[in-house]
Symmetry: C2
Subunit: 238 residues, 2 copies
């Protein structure tokens, strides 16, 4: 806590000295998985650890921004000096994101569940003795990136989405860029053998209307600092 | 680590002095949730934290037993001086449990998923643009408690199961006792408002062929010590 307080003081000084590129800007970041309840004890989850999203929040803070981090259930500690809103489901995450606008930059790094269970059980679902499993009816979740991208008056000046795929990485990312009205899509291959989901390193491809940029494998902290530096540049050149 | 080593030495001395009730016994414990994969990035989970199961493993170790802990994915550290086998799915847990027999006492405290996804996707399942969600076909998982209870030659002398329910607690526990050939069922009400799942306290009811015993609310460590003391007694009286 002493370290965090000292850090905050030093950052305020750097902001006053004008040396931080995102001073005065609000950066909104989502991170982690969402959990979609099946019944009071069960849920659908995904393997996102929140490491990349939390690293982005840190990097944006270090660049001088006021940061709002909307985080799904992760085992990471809350980053110091950052306003964190904890949510479980995609619906709750959308609400928190909409309530946190306006923002200059939004980076939607959370791995949001595409589907939730259509009718959440009020009681724990039991085996009925027939050996026949219950039907798990799914319904599509709201699309947070698309909702922000199509926002009638509060769309951030720079909107960055993530595409975690196991195949057709670039095609899927290009499709997302258009459909969701994002400025960049950070595409990464999360096939289990890559070790990216849950791991400390990331290999990303930055897809924008200008083309595709391949970045070499880096520590997730370094990926975050470079994305934030690039975002600050883009905002300045806007 | 120094503390763990010192603890092990002191325990060896206590075992030699004959003051530990489970010295020379093998206790097998399962703990935590299971994760059942949907595709490479998604899975079905439950809210079990593993706190009660891990506390039981500690208590059995402190009572002098050789302990095998088969743990699903939890955020708890591995307890010191205990052989831990990490698994994800119910199928993997069953394999680890069967491979760990024989045991004098088995306590199946894990919240094992009743169902898994029938055909796990090799690739991340994508929205197909129709807005129609994929069908998630489930199939029944193997029943670990029943498998151990009906084991032809390696059934432990004392077999304890858990029943986490949100309704009909005692009826469900009694049914489990008979169907799965357990000696005791530790029943607890995991309705969200109880705070038991994931929390530090537990209120249990011990269901056996002799009847139902209601225990007052206690810390999960204290629940564990009392269950282990009772188990050691039962084994001695056998």
């Amino acid at each position: 806590e002493i370290v965090a307080a000292a850090e905050a003081v030093l950052r305020e000084e750097a902001i006053r000295a004008g040396s931080l590129p995102l001073a005065g800007k609000h950066v909104l970041i989502t991170s982690g998985p969402t959990h979609e309840p099946i019944d009071p004890v069960r849920y659908i989850a995904n393997r996102s650890s929140g490491k990349q999203g939390h690293a982005l929040a840190r990097a944006a803070y270090e660049a001088g921004a006021r940061v709002t981090l909307v985080s799904g259930p992760v085992t990471l500690p809350d980053p110091a000096n950052i306003h964190v809103i904890h949510v479980e489901s995609a619906s709750a995450m959308l609400k928190a994101v909409e309530g946190s606008l306006p923002a200059d930059i939004a980076i939607m790094a959370a791995a949001v569940a595409d589907w939730r269970v259509a009718s959440e059980g009020a009681q724990k679902i039991k085996k009925d003795g027939t050996g026949k499993p219950p039907a798990l009816e799914l319904t599509e979740n709201p699309d947070i990136l698309a909702t922000v991208g199509h926002h009638p008056d509060l769309r951030p000046r720079l909107l960055i989405g993530f595409a975690a795929e196991t195949q057709n990485l670039i095609d899927n990312a290009r499709g997302k860029l258009e459909r969701k009205k994002a400025d960049w899509i950070i595409a990464n291959d999360v096939s289990p053998q890559t070790g990216i989901m849950g791991g400390d390193a990331n290999t990303i491809r930055v897809v924008s209307r200008d083309g595709v940029e391949d970045w070499p494998e880096m520590d997730k902290g370094e990926v975050a600092r470079r994305i934030i530096a690039r975002a600050a540049e883009a905002l300045g050149a806007d």
